[in-house]
């Protein structure tokens, strides 16, 4: 998929693979309908850059939470110090999820949403 622009690849969300047999290779030597199958992979990330994968992954995670729970009301920082923050994201429906944000270097950031860690920034 390297021929696709990064901006196209980064929007990929689902991979669909179609499998089918060749009708000339059936074991009984006769022609028959090909056997076809499909595999779907959800939540995929298409990039060779880990930072893009992390950035897109964290954004999609927030988007999915937003559709499920309503708009983000607030990021409540429960603990914050130089380069580290943890707290909860509160949504319109009254629920919240935990987050953690750790700046390892200016372009090397671990962003954890609901227990899943995304490598964000640009330098991994």
């Amino acid at each position: 998929m390297t021929e696709l622009a990064e901006s196209t690849r980064e929007r990929a969300e689902r991979l669909s693979i179609e499998l089918s047999t060749d009708r000339n290779q059936q074991s009984n030597g006769k022609d028959g309908d090909p056997i076809r199958g499909f595999v779907f992979l959800d939540g995929i990330r298409a990039s060779d850059d880990p930072a893009v994968i992390g950035n897109v992954g964290s954004r999609n995670a927030i988007r999915d939470l937003t559709l499920e729970r309503g708009i983000i009301e607030e990021f409540v920082a429960e603990e914050r110090s130089e380069g580290y923050e943890q707290g909860r994201i509160e949504f319109a429906d009254g629920t919240s999820v935990s987050y953690e944000y750790e700046i390892l270097a200016p372009q090397r950031i671990e962003y954890t949403i609901q227990g899943e860690t995304y490598k964000t920034g640009g330098d991994w």
Binding site: E13, I62, L67, G70, I71, F75, R80, Y111
Partner: protein, 426 residues
């Protein structure tokens, strides 16, 4: 002998626009040019994607090559602007004056000519002409207010039946408030004079967008487009349905457009305000939402700085509005990311760093411009990106303007973390 100096900074955010009543013929409450009514007269653009799309792929084993989507208008047909142009907010009073029949629609709604006000009043106590008494100095008041969003009243509004308006408010939906964050400190300016400093962020949002998001969440995107907005899908074959296509987000021709519906952008201003031991007031704007326009006044009430919003009537595309939506979608605004992440962004930009995700924002804006009839260009995100700080301005205790270069030379080159205290308005 201690002297107390009072300083005041007001940031006014407003959506320019003229009357949106296409049959409007009279009235005297606004300038005549504002009264030439048209449903698409605000700086909010409208979008009408209408496309024949060739797909060269298979989906669930079915080959198809044409999907026709007959869309309907988005955005400007839903909401109205503030019946102002850039000149309206030349004084602080002008910005907050109520306009009866502001929107020139029935039922009428009397509103003020802005979206959001972010105001602070500071008492700075000086023990001499260079020294501030930090324990006696304080913020005497913060105020933050948001005007209601008024739904476009004419039939072009395909959204209004789905939106719940507020009782007694005609077609208006009360504005939403974000928290105010703030911090204060005493600081020595570069000319040796001490000042009392306030760093604060305040924002709001339209609850119409919030309702749209809730409808999409409960009905699904396809049903929302078809049943609420009246989009029509045709040209599909076999087992391939429009809804199955829409569920594969990347294959949808208008992914950037649909993505724009998934968010509720915030209008906000991030302000650094100083009152020094001689009564001089200095304002510095670290960051603002790309949309709408923002005007800044100090105590005397005259406009000391502003950001403008290029717009024309009946506009099909408006770069600041698109960038505003995309920035919200990429979660790079103060209310949609961890506080540390936002501070890091502003500090990076102050140090000369590039704004985050500029390439993605440009690329998505280009995609959007490409599917809109009559739009030739998305505009350039990076070259129109405001500098950090966006604006600096000042005035003396006597109300005389101080040049921005003088203000810049006096202010410390750092960002005071605003996320230390918080307050709720509204």
């Amino acid at each position: 002998m201690a002297t107390t100096y009072t300083g005041r900074l007001q940031a006014v955010s407003s959506i320019p626009g003229a009357s949106e009543n296409s049959t409007y013929t009279g009235g005297t409450n606004v300038a005549s040019w504002l009264r030439a009514g048209d449903e698409y007269n605000s700086a909010i653009p409208y979008f009408t994607p209408d496309a024949n799309i060739d797909f060269d792929t298979t989906f669930l084993g079915q080959t198809f090559n044409l999907l026709r989507i007959r869309s309907t208008k988005l955005y400007d047909n839903w909401l109205t602007g503030d019946m102002v142009d850039a000149g309206q907010h030349s004084t602080s009073g002008g910005s907050t004056t109520g306009l009866s029949s502001k929107y020139e629609e029935r039922p009428t709604y009397t509103g003020r000519a802005y979206r959001l006000l972010n105001t602070m009043t500071v008492s700075a106590v000086a023990t001499d002409s260079t020294t501030i008494d930090a324990s006696a100095s304080r913020v005497s008041s913060f105020s933050g207010s948001s005007q209601s969003s008024t739904l476009e009243g004419e039939s072009t509004n395909n959204l209004k039946q789905a939106i719940t308006t507020d009782t007694g408010n005609g077609t208006a939906v009360t504005g939403g408030y974000r928290k105010r964050y703030f911090n204060t400190s005493k600081v020595r300016l570069n000319n040796g004079v001490e000042a009392f400093r306030v760093s604060t962020i305040f924002g709001g949002y339209t609850r119409v967008a919030q309702q749209v998001l809730n409808i999409i969440g409960s009905k699904g995107m396809y049903n929302f487009l078809r049943d609420v907005l009246g989009w029509r899908f045709s040209g599909l074959n076999g087992t391939v349905t429009a809804s199955s296509l829409l569920s594969t987000a990347d294959s949808v021709f208008c992914a950037p457009l649909l993505a724009a519906l998934f968010k509720v952008p915030n209008i906000y201003t991030f302000i650094d305000f100083f009152v020094d031991a001689r009564g001089n007031q200095y304002g510095r704007v670290w960051d603002t939402s790309r949309f709408p326009q923002h005007h800044f006044h100090l105590k005397k009430g005259e406009r000391r700085a502003y950001t403008s919003l290029p717009w024309t009537r009946n506009q099909a595309f408006n770069s600041p509005f698109v960038f505003f939506n995309l920035e919200a979608g990429l979660r790079i605004t103060p209310y949609y990311m961890p506080q540390s992440a936002y501070l890091l962004r502003i500090r990076n930009q102050l140090a000369g760093g590039a704004p985050p995700y500029a390439n993605q924002i440009q690329s998505r804006a280009n995609d959007l411009a490409a599917i809109l009839p009559g739009v030739s260009s998305a505009g350039n995100y990076l070259t129109t990106q405001p500098k950090t700080p966006e604006r600096v301005f000042g005035e003396t205790a006597g109300g005389v303007e101080i040049s921005s270069s003088t203000v810049s030379s006096r202010l410390p080159n750092n960002v005071l973390d605003p996320f230390v205290n918080e307050r709720t308005h509204g």
